[in-house]
């Protein structure tokens, strides 16, 4: 009886999990299918050229005539090249299995101390991301507290915070890297600055809203106790802002990762996801670029997932989680 009940529960949980996962998996499947189909037209021309060099007979025969055709019609005229589009060493668009293969090689097969290991490059980017995230979050919370408690800061800081986000980071990043480099600061720190620059903003906006979320009645209640403003902050405003803070942190951490990668791009950094993307591009190794791209996306997803987990735990402990 008891076992049956336990199995029943386990199945129930499994079903709930599946119900949550299936829609997401469906979307992934559709994207992969679309991607797989796109590989054929995208790679048709270079595959055809190579196949001809190796003696395959194609229609039309002259490479210049083939350029007139779209990738799709070229592939349809020469069905024999279709399987070959998936196994190019330097494809215009790598197929999903090639990217997975590259990820497997560089994440699992390579020793993490190797300069070609994506785990090594990932850590380089991740450490800058995390440092920048901590700096940005700290700055964001401090600014938000200032804005909520000082009318002067409310009027002066907020417009600048908004303006700061309208400057394209691609224009700003090289300047920050070069200027800090000129005074001898290199490596992790300049990238973290860019991460912090991108991540403080959602934290400021979210925390200002969160710290202001207590309504007039709740503030009046504290006044009837003769509460001073620091007690009001710790007992009411800060706890009220926690759900807002987590929403901001999740945006902030992905912005931080983007910031760190952008910080690696303009200066030809030797390590990091950004460096791998650049190397793949410059040396005609699209798989390297794509693998780095996917690794960055997976890293961002994991960071957000970790924050969601902490969020759920915290809110549950605070009695504000779902029952």
């Amino acid at each position: 009886m008891r076992t049956a009940f336990v199995t029943g529960c386990a199945r129930g949980i499994l079903m709930t999990r599946l119900n949550a996962i299936i829609p997401a998996l469906t979307v992934v499947a559709v994207i992969v299918a679309f991607w797989t189909l796109c590989v054929i037209p995208m790679n048709a021309h270079l595959t055809a050229d190579q196949a001809q060099r190796e003696g395959m007979v194609l229609t039309p025969e002259a490479p210049r005539d083939r350029q007139e055709l779209s990738g799709l019609s070229l592939a349809l005229k020469n069905p024999a090249i279709i399987p070959l589009t998936y196994v190019q060493t330097r494809p215009r668009l790598p197929s999903p299995h090639q990217v997975v293969q590259e990820l497997y090689d560089t994440v699992i097969d390579k020793k993490i101390t190797s300069k070609r290991s994506l785990v090594y490059h990932g850590w380089v980017t991740l450490s800058a991301t995390l440092l920048g995230f901590v700096m940005g979050t700290t700055l964001g919370i401090m600014l938000a507290v200032g804005i909520v408690y000082s009318r002067t800061m409310d009027k002066s800081v907020m417009p600048w915070a908004i303006t700061s986000q309208t400057i394209p980071i691609l224009a700003l990043a090289p300047m920050i890297i070069v200027m800090l480099g000129a005074i001898g600061i290199q490596g992790l720190f300049p990238k973290s600055i860019i991460s912090a620059y991108l991540s403080f903003f959602p934290v400021v906006v979210g925390m200002v809203k969160g710290l202001r979320s207590p309504d007039a009645m709740q503030l009046d209640l504290l006044r009837t106790y003769g509460t001073n403003s620091s007690q009001g902050f710790w007992k009411l405003r800060l706890p009220s802002s926690i759900p807002y803070l987590f929403a901001s942190l999740k945006i902030g951490i992905s912005a931080s990762l983007v910031g760190a990668i952008v910080g690696e791009l303009p200066t030809g950094a030797r390590a990091g996801f950004g460096a791998r993307m650049l190397v793949g591009d410059q040396y005609g190794q699209p798989m390297v670029t794509w693998a780095a791209l996917f690794a960055a996306a997976i890293t961002a997803a994991m960071l957000v997932a970790i924050l969601s987990l902490i969020e759920r735990q915290t809110l549950r402990r605070m009695g504000m989680g779902a029952a």
């Binding site: 009645m217 209640l221 006044r223 009837t224 106790y225 003769g226 007992k235 009695g319 504000m320």
Partner: protein, 260 residues
């Protein structure tokens, strides 16, 4: 020997400056409330009953006139923790258990841990919520939440309890029950209670003194000293006396409207 009233208002005036021009919320309000009285303020919205309660609490500053609470200004009285205030919504902190919500004023006022626990248990008992201290607010019904907020207002032993439509958002059955409990609590604690309501039966059932107010500008149109005994079962509401007082309150409210 005459005892000074606990709350004394004399020629109180309050005008709010709003974007649509000044609003005369209170005009020439004079009232004495003695120790141990249960005073209800009743009137249509805009009559200033809540504003008057907030003046007593020092949450609004009157523009003219005098008001004293325990012989002090409302601000001083507030800092001396002279009163507990119960709002229309329970306003419990969702991240605190019922017990810790009740302890909130005690923490702020710096009571010792042991005393906090002792007082929390005592006031939760008083509002019939003993054993609920570990529950979070969302696990309680609306009526229970409001009782917890009354416990919170009682926790630091203020002699005055100010209540601003505390049962306005609850259904009638729960409300009857809470009214009955509130009377028992009043009898046990001998507090002075100021109670804002817009329900005639509630005002008549609870009060020793009913203050009828009328709007634009907010002023007192009648003060009725209730002849009902302090001990009041719910069925007192069917007695001739009760109906007579209710009638007088209704007349007072109507008279206020004719003035418009």
């Amino acid at each position: 020997m005459t005892v000074d009233p606990v709350i004394r208002a004399k020629n109180l005036d309050l005008t709010f400056e709003t974007n649509d021009g000044p609003v005369h919320a209170l005009k020439d309000v004079s009232l004495d409330i003695n120790k141990g009285e249960f005073v209800s303020f009743i009137g249509p919205s805009g009559c200033g009953k809540t504003t008057f309660l907030r003046c007593i609490a020092g949450l609004e500053q009157p523009t003219a006139g005098e008001i004293s609470v325990n012989g002090m200004t409302p601000d001083e009285a507030r800092r001396a923790r002279a009163y507990g205030y119960v709002f229309q919504a329970a306003g419990l902190y969702p991240w605190r258990t019922i017990g810790r919500n009740v302890k909130l004023p005690l923490e702020i006022m710096g009571f010792s841990k042991a005393e906090q626990n002792e007082r929390m248990n005592r006031v939760l008992e008083l509002v019939d919520l003993a054993g609920f201290e570990k529950k979070f607010p969302w696990q309680l019904s609306g009526g229970m939440q409001q009782r917890a907020s009354i416990a919170r207002a009682l926790a630091f032993d203020a002699d005055i309890l100010l209540m601003d439509e505390p049962f306005g958002a609850l259904d009638e059955i729960v409300r009857d029950h809470l009214n009955e409990q509130l009377l028992k609590l009043w009898a046990r604690t001998e507090k002075t209670i100021g109670f804002v309501t817009h329900s005639i039966p509630e005002a008549v059932y609870l009060s020793t003194k009913i203050v009828v107010m009328s709007p634009r500008p907010g002023r007192i149109s009648d003060v009725i000293d209730s002849p009902l005994p302090r001990e009041r079962p719910l069925d007192i509401r069917d007695s001739a006396e009760f109906i007579e007082i209710a009638h007088r309150v209704r007349d007072g409210l109507r008279a206020g409207h004719i003035d418009d």
